[in-house]
């Protein structure tokens, strides 16, 4: 490894460590802010799921968009770096999507009386989640050429994100509209925005770490093949 590469590595690890500390600090403070925030009169205590549900859903969409854009770059420029980012972001879209899909029905059971409604916002979010599960499946079990195939899927998946966002404005739906956050009660804002920021720090920490892992895995594979060619290890 060259000196400049080592320096880049050290600086990226420092950034990751700093983000990790910020996220950890956020996770210590945010629960107190959430408990201190005013209770919503109609839904009561259960409305506090909002502070987890909305950031998870936003980051799932951000993960999907990142994976889609990075996949398009990988498809057109063949950049391995873009592919590393795409697979990392796709995994995060699945993880944060799962958080949104679990917290949503828990909240819905109390607010709407049912766990699930075939409402356009819910359907398109579930669809996004399934698309990225299929992406990960294709990469893991698809064999040769599956990276490109999965990248194509991610581009289509990213096209679903604007649809999720605008769905509540176009169709009649029982899911709250996009105007909820801008018109939030001032007492709820610090808890919400700090929660959002903490989740975002966590997103970037995980993205950075997962990307690093993917790069190390690729290097390990290349070294293994080199060693095999040199006859240092058995086939």
């Amino acid at each position: 490894m060259s000196t400049s590469q080592r320096e880049t590595n050290v600086s990226s690890i420092t950034v990751l460590a700093a983000l990790c500390l910020l996220a950890a600090g956020g996770y210590l403070i945010v629960p107190h802010l959430i408990l201190g925030a005013p209770t919503e009169p109609t839904m009561g205590f259960v409305q506090r799921i909002f502070y987890f549900h909305v950031p998870s859903a936003w980051l799932a969409m951000m993960g999907a968009l990142t994976a889609g854009v990075a996949s398009a770059i990988y498809l057109y420029r063949g950049s391995e770096r873009a592919d590393e980012i795409a697979v990392s972001a796709a995994e995060l879209a699945v993880i944060f999507g799962l958080c949104a899909i679990v917290t949503g029905p828990l909240w819905a059971r109390k607010a709407w009386g049912v766990y699930w409604q075939w409402d356009v916002r819910l359907t398109s979010t579930a669809l996004l989640w399934i698309i990225f599960i299929a992406y990960l499946f294709a990469r893991k079990y698809g064999g040769p050429g599956s990276k490109r195939l999965a990248a194509g899927l991610a581009v289509f998946g990213a096209a679903d994100v604007p649809m999720i966002y605008i769905s509540v404005s176009i169709w009649r739906t029982i899911h709250p509209k996009t105007t909820v956050v801008p018109t939030l009660d001032p007492g709820m804002r610090p808890a919400f925005w700090l929660s959002m920021l903490t989740f975002m720090f966590m997103f970037f920490v995980l993205l950075g770490m997962r990307r690093r892992l993917e790069r190390l895995r690729a290097r390990y594979d290349a070294l293994y093949l080199e060693a095999q060619d040199a006859g240092l290890i058995d086939d």
């Binding site: 698309i131 294709a138 698809g142 064999g143 899927l153």
Partner: protein, 230 residues
């Protein structure tokens, strides 16, 4: 040769291959009729199925049988390496994609020819008036194009991937959920038949039109990077 001429020539090639082999037409048609029969058996004895059920059966049968035919069609190309041969020729990728899209759409049209009379006969489905029929055909036509646009892209891009027979439906079905949803909701509105319901059906036709425009554009854009490495 003009672009349209190339598309037509490639499509004619697919039609001639199928006319000689006959494999896909019979297998897909037979499978579609079995699917409709299975659905009709599962609703035997009870009260007559509602229009929601009929609309769902139509689109699920279309999706299942269409996928079977499309999957087999690409497998045949792979066995004889014909797709690779065309990719090696200087044919524009867009012409190849559009010809595949159209041949898949023709295959799905066969499914419609089997499934629709099956529903009219076995489920007592009724479509009242020319306007309703027109809307139903528009929904089916646009739905088939939307489905084929995604299936043609990923079917051709599968290449030498492992678990192809599982991978294709796994990649295509999540992406065509909007088509199935719009198709089923639109068909329900057509079968319901009131003037308000027909207006609703027109809305779903517009939705399918927008989906088709988006997916064909994405398909044309992605075909080269996805299949160029075959």
């Amino acid at each position: 040769m003009s672009f349209v001429g190339q598309v037509a020539l490639l499509l004619w090639k697919d039609i001639r291959v199928e006319a000689r082999a006959g494999e896909l037409i019979y297998a897909t048609g037979l499978f579609a009729s079995i699917v409709v029969l299975l659905f009709s058996f599962s609703f035997l004895g009870g009260s007559p199925p509602t229009v929601e059920v009929m609309a769902g059966v139509l689109w699920v049968a279309l999706a299942l049988s269409g996928m079977l035919g499309i999957s087999r069609s690409f497998e045949r190309e792979r066995e004889s390496d014909t797709l690779r041969a065309i990719l090696l020729s200087p044919t524009p990728r867009a012409a190849l994609y559009l010809s595949k899209l159209l041949s898949m759409a023709l295959l799905m049209l066969i499914v419609v020819v089997v499934v629709l009379p099956g529903l009219l006969l076995l489920f007592g489905m009724r479509v009242d008036g020319g306007e309703a029929w027109l809307r139903l055909f528009a929904l089916l036509g646009l739905g088939i194009i939307g489905f084929s646009s995604v299936a043609a892209l990923f079917g051709a891009a599968l290449g030498r991937a492992r678990v192809r027979e599982i991978l294709l439906p796994l990649l295509v079905y999540p992406l065509v959920v909007p088509v199935l949803l719009a198709g089923a909701r639109g068909t329900y509105a057509v079968l319901y038949g009131t003037p308000e319901a027909l207006v609703d059906a027109s809305r779903w036709i517009k939705f399918l039109l927008a989906f088709d425009a988006l997916s064909v554009t994405c398909g044309l854009w992605l075909f080269e990077p996805l299949c160029g490495h075959e």
